[in-house]
Amino acid sequence: MIDVRNINKSFDDKHVLKDVSLVFEEGKQNLIIGQSGSGKTVLLKCLVGLFEPDNGSILYSGRDFVTMNKNARKEIRKEIGMLFQGSALFDSMTVMENVMFPLLMFSDLNAKEQIDRANFCIDRVGLTEAHNKLPSEISGGMQKRAAIARAISLNPKYLFCDEPNSGLDPKTGVKIDHLIEEITQEYNITTVINTHDMNSVIQHGDNINYIYEGEVWWQGNKSSFLGNDNPELLDFIYSTEILKRIKPKK
């Protein structure tokens, strides 16, 4: 479980995150939704320590990530996997080398066990065929899969995904969403997902947090989502023409 309490973050005079408090639960897909520029990526980067929040606390199963020292953070980092918006695979390495990389750097496994583990992760995301391909040689969907394999190679307790299906066609996006859901449940991971994809929200939102201009504006789950009566959220949900046309009239 991750407990976020009263996080603020500004860049120069731009107040991006405003007193954000959230709880992300284990074995669930915790969604952060909101339109572009609302602060989703900044929030995610604060959670994993790529940005330092101005104040507030981030408790990883009770351990405060904000105030802890570098070495304690390193321990938590080993429990974290992250899927970046653009996959962020190391482009000089093959898929196998990418997945092996965290194992080489951090695991106590011996060489053979490392290879077995990497193979397992690659098979798990369905990339058996692409083992020795470079990131530039595979499709966007496959890159996302490879990035997922790399993110889970050290058996993370926490998985962060920044817009996992952005840039993918809808069908591939749905597959990636499903893969993340399966992995979350299989390994009981606390998964935090940034998205603005409505389909992901209503299919996978165990815990939905709507961020509006850096503030938490609405919280709920996929069953309370469409029936909500928050005007900003409704506006966000029904922002496309096709949805406006089928929006239920009150």
């Binding site: 994993v48 790529l50 974290i80 918006q85 962020a88 695979l89 482009d91 080489l104 951090f106």
Partner: protein, 246 residues
């Protein structure tokens, strides 16, 4: 003020870079790869430039030596001095600042804008150390050899030009090469080039590391890398030369 801000940022980055690598075997592999990219990959261009410059220097000196009062050994002597003191350590480094600097900055800059550096940081890897130190070490290990190669090739080029076009006899030329030879000059050249390699790799890495935005910004950072490492190189060349030989 801007300068001091960036210089401070540069020093802090270097401080992060000069840490013990997490995995030594992996680090050694990276250094070897970088020696390939920085060192071996530069041998061709350095040889080509050196042979031509050596030949041209000889033709030009020969042209100015019509005066019979100038001793015949001046040709080889002059070539040796220009090559060892200035051409091979400084001009070759300057050329490599263009070649290596832009490639380091664009490689690291691309990793920055595609979040590969964030991915390293998230894993708990010191990205400055992981990405920059192997390049600095590889530069320091490669440059002495590059400089010596450049010296040998340009003097050979000069010799061939002199003999082939009858600018000098082989004996005069070689006695010029041996005339008043101070081995310290070679050590001085190597030391200078080693320092230049540090400037080139670290300054270029700095510009790549702090690139932001997209492909255009990576291009800009790689231009800056070349410009600033060239300026730093020329400035420090002036200072070093003044201190040691002046």
């Amino acid at each position: 003020m801007q300068f001091f801000y960036h210089f401070g940022k540069y020093l802090i980055l270097l401080k992060d870079a000069f840490k013990r690598p997490l995995n030594h075997r992996y680090f050694i592999r990276q250094v070897i790869n970088e020696i390939d990219a920085i060192g071996l990959n530069s041998l061709g261009i350095v040889s080509i430039i050196s042979v031509f410059i050596g030949a041209v220097l000889v033709i030009q000196t020969g042209y100015q030596m019509q005066n019979p009062l100038i001793p015949a050994y001046t040709l080889g002597y002059g070539l040796r001095e220009s090559v060892i003191l200035e051409f091979s350590p400084t001009i070759v480094s300057l050329i490599l600042a263009g070649k290596i600097g832009s490639s380091i900055a664009s490689q690291i800059g691309t990793m920055r804008v595609t979040e590969q550096i964030d991915a390293l940081d998230i894993m708990g890897i010191n990205s400055a150390n992981f990405l920059i130190l192997p390049k600095i070490i590889a530069g320091i290990l490669s440059f002495p050899f590059i400089v010596i190669l450049s010296m040998i090739v340009s003097i050979t080029g000069g010799y061939l030009a002199a003999v082939m076009w009858g600018i000098s006899t082989s004996i005069d030329f070689i006695s010029g090469l041996n005339y008043w030879f101070v081995p310290f000059e070679i050590a001085y050249a190597i030391l200078k080039a080693t320092f230049f390699s540090f400037l080139i790799t670290s300054i270029s890495a700095f510009h790549g590391y702090y690139a932001s935005g997209g492909a255009i910004d990576v291009g800009k950072s790689s231009t800056k890398a070349v410009v600033y490492s060239s300026i730093a190189l020329l400035l420090s060349n002036l200072i070093i030369t003044k201190l040691i030989l002046g």
